[in-house]
Structure formats: C-alpha cells, structure tokens
Amino acid sequence: NAGVTQTPKFRVLKTGQSMTLLCAQDMNHEYMYWYRQDPGMGLRLIHYSVGEGTTAKGEVPDGYNVSRLKKQNFLLGLESAAPSQTSVYFCASSTQGTPSFDEQYFGPGTRLTVT
C-alpha cells in the first residue's frame, strides 16, 4: 500500500514549456486534490475532484488544468509555464465528502522551478 505517490519529484522548466504532474493513490479514495505551497504561505488549493470524471476549481486555478480519467489518478497540467508557478505541488486524497470527517492523505510533493 503506497498511499499517495507523485511523479516527478523534481522538475525544472523554461518559461512557456508545458508539463503534467501525475498523482496516484491506491486507497480507493473518491476525492483528490492539488495544492501548491509557496514560501511563507500555507498550502493553497488549485483544483480538486470529487470522483472519476469530475473536476472543480479551487482557490488558485489560473494557469492550470486537471483531469481525472481514472479514479486512482489525478493529473495536473501546466500548458505554458510561468516563473510565478515555481512552487512545491502537493497532491492529496480522501475517502468521501461531508459531513463525515475525511482525513486528507498527502503525497510527498513535487518541486517545480520555472526559469
């Protein structure tokens, strides 16, 4: 049981390049999330999904797209990377929505640098 895994762990992009971050979970969770973490700030929600085939915007969605084609995978795409997207990206998953308590399990993070 690997939990939540993220690929890659590190990446350096040039401005304007595109890339996809992959998140996978083996806990059969319905909900998945993408966050970004910047220095001096907590995690901020980019996009999330409440089930296979669904996506929704979070607090800071601009410049990102996501897809949830399979229940266990949640992809985060950057179509045209900008230096402002330099950050550490975290994926998380949880069992179900409200109102019951559902702990979010986090992946190890991906450090992305855009030059």
Partner: protein
C-alpha cells in the same frame, strides 16, 4: 471568508520540555473541523491531531494536545516532552463541516528542538 492565522513564524524548545504553538481562525460557521499538520524536512504532510468544533473536549494524541477555545476562535497545539523528531513546520488548518474542498491552511510555524 474563512482565514487561519499563525502569528509565530518560528519557535524553539529544548528536548523534553513543553511548547505551545498558537493558531487563530475566523469563521461565521458553527460546525467545522480544525487540524494540525506536521511537515518535516521530507516535505510529507502528516496529520498530527484534529478537533471537531461540536466537541467541547480537547483532542489528545499521545504527547500532542490542543486547547480549543471556540468562542475565542483559538486552537493551540501543545507538544509535551519534546523530541528531536518533532522539529518541523507545523500548519494549522480549518475545514468547514459541509465543504470538503475547503481545507484552509495557516502560514505555518517552524519548530526547532534543541538537545
């Protein structure tokens, strides 16, 4: 809008001593969850403790306990018998009872533990 404030960017404690990390939040809702997450240098986000707002009793998990003051909107974390492995960033987080997408984080407190 809900906000979470951690006013202590850094704290330090000696091994075996007790330290308290502060967190305040702002919300107009009556039902919600509060969390403390630990982020060690490995970057992995680890749930330390959680509190349901409808419970008056303060949550406890081994050496970790909280002081939940609902009226004051305060949620502090007490670490007893501090260990070197407790050194990490600690994030306070808030989640409304009915919106699973809204996990709102504070800016974090870096805890150093000295031998």
């Amino acid at each position: 809008a809900q906000t979470v404030t951690q006013s202590q960017p850094e704290m330090s404690v000696q091994e075996a001593e007790t330290v308290t990390l502060s967190c305040t939040y702002d919300t107009s809702e009556s039902d919600y969850y509060l969390f403390w997450y630990k982020q060690p240098p490995s970057r992995q986000m680890i749930l330390v403790i959680r509190q349901e707002a409808y419970k008056q009793q303060n949550a406890t998990e081994n050496r970790f306990s909280v002081n939940f003051q609902k009226a004051a909107k305060s949620f502090s974390l007490k670490i007893s018998d501090s260990q070197l492995g407790d050194a990490a960033m600690y994030f306070c987080a808030y989640r409304p009872y009915y919106n699973t997408d809204k996990l709102i984080f504070g800016t974090g407190t870096r805890l150093q533990v000295f031998p």
